[in-house]
């Protein structure tokens, strides 16, 4: 009798392996790609490694996004561009302008199943069109900026990530997509100097709290901050050594679904550089000053003796002490440290 009753009551709680099947196989997920468009960085990338080609990268990226849609009919993708001088952060897909319409439309009839091919086509054409338009405007703006010799970046990677995160947050609160899992992929070419440190850290914490992994596909020079981002959010950071085979990187190392992550060995770095950057000069610091009030990191003491972040005044006597010290042993200290 025991055996029989066990069986009937056991039916409701399926075995763990079957549970994996049910949960992992059927939860749809969102893939947000952030594409770094920094024109100068792309230029320098091409100069150092002529195999990096924007067209190749875009093509590989599109194939990857298609693949993501192919995984599950409930899957979604979105694409943001960052670091472009003329546009700032912009959502390319789904298009911002038609955002309201699509949401309204979807609310009414989410069942509207778009043909699979149609979905790929809409995605690819939309993205390529937008990028194409963008590049028509970019050269003029770029010329202006270069002439002005001002390296002010509009729409940083951080901005793009935080917008992506807020979109994900909204999506996850929405009734229809309540269980949606999400991950972010950053395809970056520019160096750390384009990344504002404080906001980067804030987005990392936000992502951590939302349990969203940020993967970083790094073309060109290494980035310490993005390494930290991936490390802190259980993401994948990779320096792409062979840009020719980018599609293989994207379809393997960067193709790990959020729910598969506990099962698959992530191709992660063993050594992550945890240095922070100076809030004033934006340079990575080995040893620097820290504001005792807001913990802001400084490589130099600002002239007005006030913290640049929280504006609390530094004690003058201390500052002079600090300032004096390097004057006494200016070179020796540095050399000995090194």
């Amino acid at each position: 009798m025991d055996a029989i009753s066990d069986r009937a009551f056991g039916e409701s709680s399926a075995s763990t392996a079957a549970n994996i099947h049910r949960v992992v196989d059927e939860t749809p997920s969102l893939l947000t790609v952030i594409l770094d468009l920094h024109p100068l960085a792309w230029k320098s990338c091409r100069e150092t490694n002529d195999k990096i080609d924007f067209r190749n990268v875009t093509a590989s990226m599109l194939v990857m996004m298609n693949s993501h849609l192919a995984l599950n009919s409930g899957n979604r993708v979105s694409l943001y561009i960052a670091n472009s001088f003329s546009q700032g952060v912009k959502r390319v897909y789904p298009e911002e302008t038609s955002l309201k319409d699509t949401i309204l439309e979807k609310d009414g009839s989410l069942l509207k199943s778009v043909g699979i091919y149609g979905q790929f086509k809409v995605l690819d054409e939309n993205i390529l069109d937008t990028l194409d338009k963008l590049f028509h405007n970019e050269p003029e703006r770029l010329r202006d900026i270069i002439n002005k010799d001002d390296v002010f970046v509009k729409g940083t990677i951080t901005g793009a990530i935080s917008r992506a995160l807020s979109a994900i947050n909204k999506l996850q609160k929405h009734e229809e997509t309540l269980n949606m899992k999400a991950r972010v992929l950053v395809i970056s070419v520019s160096g750390d100097n384009t990344i504002p440190y404080v906001s980067m850290m804030n987005t990392i914490f936000a992502a951590q709290k939302m349990k969203i992994s940020i993967d970083v596909c790094k073309l060109g020079e290494k980035s310490i901050f993005l390494q930290q981002t991936a490390d802190a959010t259980n993401g994948v950071y990779m320096d792409i050594k062979y840009p020719n085979g980018l599609i293989q990187y994207l379809s393997n190392a960067f193709f790990i679904e959020p729910l598969l992550r506990p099962m698959i060995v992530l191709p992660s770095n063993t050594s992550v550089d945890f240095r922070a950057s100076c809030f004033v000069t934006n340079k990575v610091v080995d040893i620097g000053y820290v504001c005792s009030v807001c913990l802001c990191i400084l490589s130099v003491i600002p002239g007005d003796e006030r913290c640049p972040t929280c504006h609390s005044p530094f004690e003058h006597s201390l500052v002079t002490k600090l300032k004096r010290k390097p004057k006494v042993l200016p070179l020796d200290v540095k050399r000995m440290k090194k």
């Binding site: 099947h21 749809p28 067209r55 875009t58 199943s113 091919y117 698959i264």
Partner: protein, 596 residues
């Protein structure tokens, strides 16, 4: 003999507890069991590749993606190396590690679909210099080519290796479109017929489908489904003619299930006239079928259609391709029928009867309906589609803003259902003792008797519970959620992690759920086996010898040593008799066992 299955039905029907599993496992089972040559033919069609890909477990998908752009084969061990083996579970044996099971499942599926191929290569070990055989894996070449084409949008002639894949973006713009070779663009109908709107298609497919269900429940309907539909229903064992029932009962008493199955099925593919088929009655499996959600229902019928198609000498590749093609079409778009093969044209008519397709006679284009386009969607998005259709079926012309859930069940077993649909009432009537009917409400009680009648007709307790859960009123769900949150916070505050893990969302009152299960257990008290009783042994030695041999090969169902009797299952009897004869020959004291 345990409850006799109407022949021709898939035997897996009883094993599944949720309807989604049911649909997935059956289509998967069907695909898995196809021979390699059929698979290879299937993989030529891109839509099929994509649809099959979507049906796979997530890890299989990961493997495919990884190998897709890999030009060379990969050592088999790498497949394992990508997987984390949970250290917590290392104490348990490997078989019990869920991740490991999951991985094995995923690889097994890929192999049975012949997507993953093993190649043995002889290599020289770098250190020991010994030749060793290493197993490499790679994707099925045809599958790989088609699936790459799906993702990249290249034609068959493009793209020979991955480096070519990254062709400049301007060209990509055109290349994204599927090529003329089997792609969809070519079958877009030229005449953009705007008369057929999506609303019209929805209405059309619903009325068709509803009609079939109504016919099954036995509601009076104006238009009886076509001969094709009725033949299929009969073939699938969902409905039967009174004469079938008599015949089955007769045969059941004489023969084994297997023999009837084949003979009976052959008879069933014969076309009968509509007047004969009109008398069809619902079977036990038909009742279970009604409790499934609409997507599983469609798949059940389609799979039966496939099996029947094979019997009618239709090419299963064509049939499957067409089904998967339908899944990738766009709703509200007309498609040209010129591209279809002969088999597919026949299917066009049949599928039209199920409401999957809208096609006007003589018109050059056909329109897939929502039933068709959501075929290959997965459960999550699917649930929306199917519940919405369910809703429309259950509340045909009511206010659409009312929610899907309509059933309230109380702890005192009273049940209230806000519906006016005869279909839903008929379904409820299967296991509820209905008391009163109002304009938009029926009330009833779940009693031991009402549940037992349902159980006897082959519906399981789990199916009833699932049905009630999926159709529960929003109020019930909200209450359950509130209760869950309260419990969660409480357990959390006292830090009882064990209780936290066991916490479940209980939409139905637990008393009712348990009671329904208990009622099922009542019926399970007697289990029956078919077999042979061995008795009247002349001596202990003979008895012991046969018994121990029988136990060794595991065919003994019951034994009683004091009375020198034991019972052998039907399958094991032959073996045991052979053994007994051997003993007799050796000992020269003939005394055969008496099978009865």
């Amino acid at each position: 003999m345990s409850s006799a299955q109407p022949p021709g039905s898939s035997s897996s029907m009883n094993n599944e507890d949720t309807s989604v599993d049911f649909f997935k496992s059956t289509i998967n089972e069907y695909l898995d069991n196809l021979p390699e040559s059929v698979h290879n033919q299937l993989f030529h069609a891109r839509e099929t590749c994509l649809a099959i890909f979507r049906l796979l477990p997530a890890l299989s998908k990961f493997y495919i993606m990884t190998l897709l752009f890999h030009e060379t084969s990969v050592p088999y061990s790498d497949l394992n190396r990508w997987i984390k083996l949970n250290k917590m579970n290392s104490k348990q044996s490997i078989q019990q590690n869920p991740t490991k099971i999951y991985q094995n499942d995923s690889i097994k599926r890929l192999k049975s679909l012949h997507i993953l191929k093993e190649i043995k290569k002889q290599m020289i070990h770098p250190i020991t210099k010994q030749p060793t055989i290493i197993i490499f894996v790679q994707l099925n070449e045809i599958f790989r080519q088609s699936f790459r084409d799906v993702l990249t949008g290249f034609g068959d002639d493009g793209l020979k290796d991955a480096s070519q894949l990254t062709i400049n973006t301007e060209n990509n713009n055109e290349d994204v479109k599927p090529s003329s070779n089997g792609g969809l663009d070519t079958i877009f109908a030229d005449d953009a017929d705007n008369k057929i709107t999506i609303e019209y298609l929805d209405k059309y497919c619903l009325s068709k489908w509803e009609n079939i269900l109504h016919f099954m429940v036995g509601t009076e309907i104006k238009e009886i489904p076509s001969v094709g539909v009725l033949t299929l229903l009969r073939f699938a064992g969902l409905m039967e003619l009174p004469s079938d029932k008599e015949r089955r009962d007769l045969m059941n008493s004489v023969m084994d299930d297997h023999d009837i199955d084949t003979e009976y099925n052959e008879g069933k593919t014969k076309k009968l006239s509509i007047t004969t088929l009109r008398q069809l009655l619902i079977t036990q499996n038909g009742f279970q079928f009604l409790l499934q959600d609409i997507s599983s229902q469609i798949w059940t019928l389609l799979i039966q259609y496939l099996i029947m198609a094979e019997k009618l000498q239709m090419n299963p590749v064509d049939v499957l391709n067409f089904i998967f093609l339908l899944g990738s079409l766009e709703l509200g778009q007309g498609y040209n029928i010129n591209m279809l093969s002969k088999t597919q044209l026949i299917m066009l008519d049949d599928l039209q009867d199920y409401g999957l397709i809208y096609h006007e006679k003589g018109n050059k284009s056909f329109y897939p309906t929502r039933l068709a386009t959501s075929l290959t969607s997965e459960s999550s998005s699917f649930k929306n589609a199917s519940t919405a259709i369910d809703q429309e079926i259950s509340q045909p012309r009511n206010d659409k803003s009312t929610n899907v859930g309509s059933i309230i069940i109380e702890t005192n077993f009273k049940i209230y259902c806000y519906t006016s649909s005869p279909l839903q009432i008929a379904i409820l009537n299967l296991f509820v003792n209905l008391r009163a009917r109002f304009a938009n409400l029926v009330t009833g009680v779940v009693t031991r008797d009402s549940i037992r009648t349902a159980l006897r007709s082959g519906i399981t307790a789990q199916q009833i519970i699932n049905y009630l859960e999926t159709h529960a009123h929003t109020g019930m769900i909200e209450m359950a959620e509130a209760e869950y949150n309260k419990n969660y916070e409480f357990q959390n505050s006292i830090g009882n992690t064990v209780a936290l893990e066991q916490l479940k969302l209980e939409i139905l009152p637990p008393t009712v759920v348990d009671q329904i299960k208990l009622w099922q257990l009542e019926l399970d008290r007697v289990e029956s086996f078919r077999g042979y009783l061995y008795k009247d042994f002349s001596n202990d030695f003979e008895f012991e010898k046969l018994l121990s041999y029988g136990e060794e090969i595991g065919v003994i169902v019951w034994k009683d040593k004091s009375k020198r009797k034991f019972f052998v299952s039907q399958e094991g009897n032959g073996q045991l008799i052979e053994y007994a004869n051997k003993i007799i020959r050796n000992s020269n004291t003939p005394r055969p066992a008496t099978p009865m």
